[in-house]
Amino acid sequence: MRWFESPNFDFIKAQQKAYFFSGTMIIVSIVGIIVMGLNYGIDFRGGQEFVFEFEEPVDVVEIRTELAGPLGTVPEIKLFGSTREILFRVDSEEDVTATRELILENFAQLYPGNTVTVQKTDLVGPRFAEDLRRGAMYSIIFALAVVFIYIFIRFKGWWFSAGAIAALAHDVLIVLGIFTIMAEIAPFDVSINQALIAAFLTIVGYSLNDTVVVFDRIRENSIIYKTMNFKDMINKSLNDTLSRTVVTSVTTLFVVSVLFIFGGEVLKGFAFALVIGVILGTYSSLFVASALVVELQKRATVKAKTK
């Protein structure tokens, strides 16, 4: 079987459409994040989180309204896999055991005879959450910086670095935007936590993988076709590597979808981020990174000439 045997798409020409699409997505993401605020999970916000498993299905809305009184604050409740399991998050100054006992007492009153077991208890102090948040931010910034430097050294042109970083930032920002906008409607936990940061860095790694393979081909072609103009050469390189890009995207998309479907409730949000990330990563290495490299390189040479 062969896909894209000798393709000849004009990727750089599609640039206009790609800029429009990416621009819209980025604006929607940024507006979403500003309006709705980042939906931090327990890792980055602190608080207490439990997973309860009931014997019989329960009603999330009912629990939320019934427990707001006793807890003194409205808890965040989501179904966790089945209608018998719930994820329960609450900001409480109380001791975590005391909170849990209070919740369990109220469950017993609300659903007599429906036995509850505690599957998971998480407590993160506010100051520790701040540390985790800082660590996450540093790791993303640090990762992007290292990528910038490595590509700069290997491909000898800051426009390669800038194109790659812009594509990565594009991917992460849009995933973040989608997660923020989905906060209320997603049927699984899409809060921003440590696992999601791991997903971001994986997306960074994956998307970079794609981008680097294209850049590598550009480097190779620029030696073979010395006279070809930069834009055409990039287009040729994208076409040369297209089959590989698509095949790898397909296999990776297979496994992250498997993870999303079979990986269990704990990994749902993480796997979902990867699914979006792989799609976006493939798109951005084909349409965003290289187009930007052409643009930046053009400007850089124009500047050099006018000097």
Partner: protein
């Protein structure tokens, strides 16, 4: 030349496979043993376990361990309270001024995320640039004199902090060992944090008390009864005409509304319902009320309720002297005992010779009067001294049961923590959720592998089959690397393996596509293969090096299970590079030499 080269490659493959099997062998054995043991009856198993203790222990330690998110258990991050430690190091020199400086520095260090000791010294010097810290920290044994500079003292404080964290870790280790957890892990994280992992533990409350318990044991005398009575009198008079100023937020409630100024005996200052104790404390801390209470009297709550009123527990506030006569440092041995008359569990303690001497002096001088036994700020009992005690014996009664007594013995015997520990993170995973996660992880690996394998064969034919074979090796290698480095397999770690399955074929995809291209260019199969491998190499290296960097960064910033993900990602990159480049090459070369017609890249 070519042949020799492959000989070296085959040697490498055999070596790595050998190493992998060597490292994974205990894991396989351990799983077989567990299966074997699960098929036995309870009594058989206990006997089998005791007979093969050393062997089983050894196997368990060397096998690939599962993270807490997979096997269930408790994960706690503790922070050593530096401000309290710095205050305590000042000992008797500590005063209100120092407390103020510490409070301010604590706040600044939280706000700006800076080092507390730096902020402390800076704040101290900011208030008075000529002031010397040696005023508070001079000590002959530490060689700190009046003339020691502030920076010398800062480094002394820093050393003390390091020592305190180390000591706290030792104490926690000893407590956890006595508690009896299999394979606990206690690690330092950063400057003043300790991460404790306790697999299979779900009794959070007990563990929390055990980890945090400072077990500050104090023996204190009580004031004269006349003195207590006259204080009660004054407090009663103060509040009888008192009315709370509702406008003023700092204004306190009337104590008499929630507090009875009488009790079961003359040493009791009064009592209150459990829910009101915090309010009572707040009222008593108020300046106006503090002025009514003699300086050398401290009011402490009893540890257990003395009575209950319609199901509401009532606690007594007991008057004791502020001065501490003797502390828990002198305890050399503690054990659980039972009260001969009530049969209630208590802790019986023996003091060292110095403690026994002082204890004899204290009891001798106070015959007929009570001595309060105070643990972590609560009065457990205040028995009346009947005669001088010369053998250094004493006991703590009023405990919540045998288990509470056992835990207290554990804490007393492990030694007192140098500074209070705060739990800043706590995660507990139930065993059944862990099992569900393992199942989900295994399904994902199997499905992921199946789908990718089929796709590769369909798309690349023989090449795909070879890549699939390499993929199998790849997964075995990853597990081997994890076992070899004694890493822990977590749920995100499994996700990392699944992800690696998808991405590991990338190197082969790059190579095979290159081979197809070369074939299209009219090259012979052999030449196309040689060129394909050679030309794909730089792209493979660049792509994997950058991803590896990202994994390293994730490892250094991530915590807990996320570290597990980063580790499998790194292991996955190394393993997939090896299997995709070396293993497939050997197989491809062998096949093209033996039966070239059978090799197809689709």
């Amino acid at each position: 030349m070519k042949k020799q080269n492959n000989g070296f490659k085959i040697g490498c493959i055999v070596l790595f496979l050998g190493l992998t099997i060597y490292y994974l062998f205990p894991t396989i054995q351990w799983n077989l043993e567990q299966r074997h043991m699960n098929s036995m009856t309870e009594t058989e198993r206990v006997q089998y376990e005791s007979e093969n203790m050393a062997k089983l222990q050894n196997l368990r330690e060397r096998s690939l361990s599962l993270g807490l998110d997979l096997q269930g258990g408790m994960y706690v991050t503790l922070e050593v309270g530096s401000p309290q430690l710095i205050l305590e190091l000042a000992g008797d020199f500590a005063d209100e001024y120092l407390e103020e400086v510490i409070q301010t520095a604590r706040q600044t260090s939280i706000d700006n995320n800076t080092d507390f000791i730096d902020e402390f010294v800076a704040e101290f010097e900011r208030r008075d640039s000529d002031a010397m810290l040696s005023r508070y920290y001079r000590s002959d044994s530490e060689n700190i004199t009046r003339t020691s500079t502030n920076s010398e003292i800062a480094s002394y404080l820093r050393n003390q902090q390091t020592a305190a964290v180390e000591r706290a870790m030792e104490i926690i280790r000893s407590r956890v060992d006595r508690f009896g957890v299999t394979e606990p892990s206690i690690l330092q994280q950063g400057g003043n944090r300790i991460v404790v992992e306790l697999p299979g533990v779900d009794d959070e409350e007990r563990v929390r008390d055990l980890l945090r318990g400072t077990a500050r044991l104090e023996f204190r005398l009580t004031p004269e009864t006349e003195e207590i009575n006259s204080t009660k009198q004054q407090v009663s008079e103060f509040f009888s005409n008192y009315e709370q100023d509702e406008e003023d937020e700092s204004s306190i409630k009337n104590l008499l509304e929630i507090f009875e100024l009488r009790g079961s005996n003359e040493y009791v200052f009064g009592y209150a319902a459990e829910r009101d104790t915090a309010d009572v404390n707040r009222i008593l801390e108020h300046e106006d009320v503090q002025n009514l209470i003699p300086r050398n009297t401290t009011l402490l709550w009893g540890a257990t309720p003395f009575a209950s009123d319609n199901g509401v527990d009532l606690f007594e506030l007991i008057a004791v002297r502020s001065q501490i006569e003797l502390t828990g440092d002198v305890i050399s041995e503690a054990r659980v005992a039972f009260d001969p008359t009530t049969n209630a569990a208590e802790v019986s303690m023996t003091m060292d010779s110095e403690g026994a001497r002082r204890w004899a002096r204290i009891t001798g001088a106070n015959i007929g009067r009570p001595v309060a036994i105070v643990l972590d700020g609560h009065v457990y009992s205040y028995p009346t001294v009947r005669s001088q005690i010369n053998n250094g014996r004493s006991s703590i009664s009023g405990l919540g049961g045998v288990r509470a007594a056992e835990d207290l013995v554990n804490i007393l015997m492990s030694g007192a923590l140098p500074a209070p520990l705060e739990i800043i993170e706590e995660r507990t995973v139930g065993a059944s959720l862990g099992e569900a996660s393992i199942r989900a992880g295994l399904y994902s690996i199997m499905f992921g592998l199946g789908v990718v394998a089929i796709f590769m064969i369909v798309y690349y034919r023989t090449g795909g089959g070879i890549a699939d074979l390499a993929l199998m090796f790849n997964i075995i290698f990853i597990l081997g690397i994890l076992a070899g480095f004694q890493a822990t397999l977590t749920l995100p770690g499994i996700a990392g393996i699944v992800l690696t399955i998808g991405m590991a074929v990338d190197a082969n995809v790059l190579i095979f596509d290159r081979i197809r291209e070369e074939l299209r260019g009219g090259k012979t199969l052999r030449a196309a293969i040689d060129n394909g491998y050679a030309n794909a190499m730089s792209a493979i290296i660049d792509a994997n090096v950058t991803t590896f960097f990202v994994a390293v960064i994730l490892y250094s910033f991530g915590m807990g299970p996320i570290k597990g993900f980063a580790v499998t990602l790194m292991a996955g990159i190394v393993a997939s590079l090896f299997s995709a480049i070396v293993i497939t090459r050997v197989i491809v070369d062998y096949l093209t030499r033996e039966k070239a017609s059978a090799v197809s890249f689709g």
